[in-house]
């Protein structure tokens, strides 16, 4: 398939808010989950390195903490807070992008939308190569139905050389071509 490409100008006039909502909901959900996982991994790395212990030691030294107390013993609760904030972030971003889409629609009504130049793939076809057909019948040619450019060909007495072509011989012969109306019609 050889698609034709053309260069055109298009003005973006409208984003469908509902589809923007759907896509951005999923997008930000995935983003949030990824961020959460990254944060968890970072947190476990930090704990394994021993940063919280040393922070606790330091805080104990400056008597902000009592001896034996820890700043980081309720990691479960921190996690819950972070998950809550992440969910809030995802919802807020989804809402914001939907509002932005609606706002864009209103603005593009006033000032016209953003104009972009696009390369478009078109399905408008080049005329297909004529199928190789076997003559269905040696019917007498109706000369009146032929156009002017065909008549000289018919009238020519020139000898036509028959070429034995290997590629032609191996070409599959198409019995019925749906694109070309048959002669009976």
């Amino acid at each position: 398939m050889m698609p034709a490409v053309r260069r055109v100008r298009r003005v973006i006039r409208k984003f469908d808010p509902w589809t923007v909502f759907k896509v951005s909901l999923l997008f930000h959900a995935v983003l949030t989950v990824g961020l959460l996982l990254g944060l968890l991994i970072l947190w476990s790395v930090i704990i394994n390195v021993g940063v919280p212990e040393r922070l606790d030691d330091f805080l104990t030294v400056i008597t902000l903490l009592e001896d034996g107390d820890s700043f980081f013993n309720n990691g479960q609760q921190y996690l819950r807070v972070v998950v809550f904030l992440a969910a809030l972030f995802s919802m807020a971003m989804t809402l914001l992008s939907t509002i932005a889409a609606i706002l864009y629609n209103l603005i593009s009504d006033v000032v016209g939308g953003v104009e972009v130049v696009m390369l478009e793939e078109t399905l408008r076809l080049q005329p297909a190569a004529p199928a190789i057909r076997q003559p269905q019948a040696w019917a007498p040619v109706d000369r009146e139905a032929l156009t002017e450019e065909h008549r000289p060909i018919l009238d020519s007495t020139e000898e036509v050389e028959v070429i034995e072509d290997a590629t032609l011989a191996s070409t599959e012969v198409i019995e019925s071509d749906p694109l070309v109306p048959s002669q009976g019609d």
Binding site: L103, V111, G112, G113, M118, L119, E120, E121
Partner: protein
């Protein structure tokens, strides 16, 4: 133009965005960020009022007085008018900056897409059914 009356079908085609017209991007983003800035100013006024009514400002003043940062009869937040002016100034600056950035981004995109070709999208296109439906390519 009664496009709704024409029966349509959908087809999936590829589109490559080669160029954003910077002028239209400037127009749209200026209005967009103008409205956003207006919303931000309104939001900050509302938030300021709520914070003042809750009494957080008084608390901060009290704390500042207790560490002798300010005198007893002075408030940190008596020049609300001036703060408001600063907020308005910054939101206007933000609006101009952001629309300039968007326009610049579109110009940069145009230059980049000349080098590497632009974004390619697969879009579902609504096409009117007139005459023959699109035929398969041989």
């Amino acid at each position: 133009m009664s496009t709704a009356a024409v029966p349509t079908t959908q087809r999936r085609v590829r589109r490559i965005v080669r160029k954003f017209d910077p002028w239209t991007v400037l127009k749209v983003s200026f209005v967009f960020f103008g409205i956003s800035a207006l919303g931000l100013v309104l939001l900050s006024i509302v938030a300021w009022t709520i914070i003042g009514n809750i009494g957080i400002l008084e608390e901060i003043n009290r704390a500042a007085r207790s560490i002798s940062l300010i005198d007893q009869d002075v408030s940190l937040f008596q020049s609300g008018e001036q703060y408001f002016r600063v907020v308005v100034f910054f939101s206007v600056a933000w609006m101009i900056l952001m629309s300039g950035m968007a326009t610049l981004a579109s110009v940069v995109y145009n230059l980049i897409s000349d080098v590497v070709g632009g974004f390619e999208f697969s879009v579902m296109e609504e096409v009117p059914i007139v005459g023959d439906p699109p035929q398969e390519v041989m």
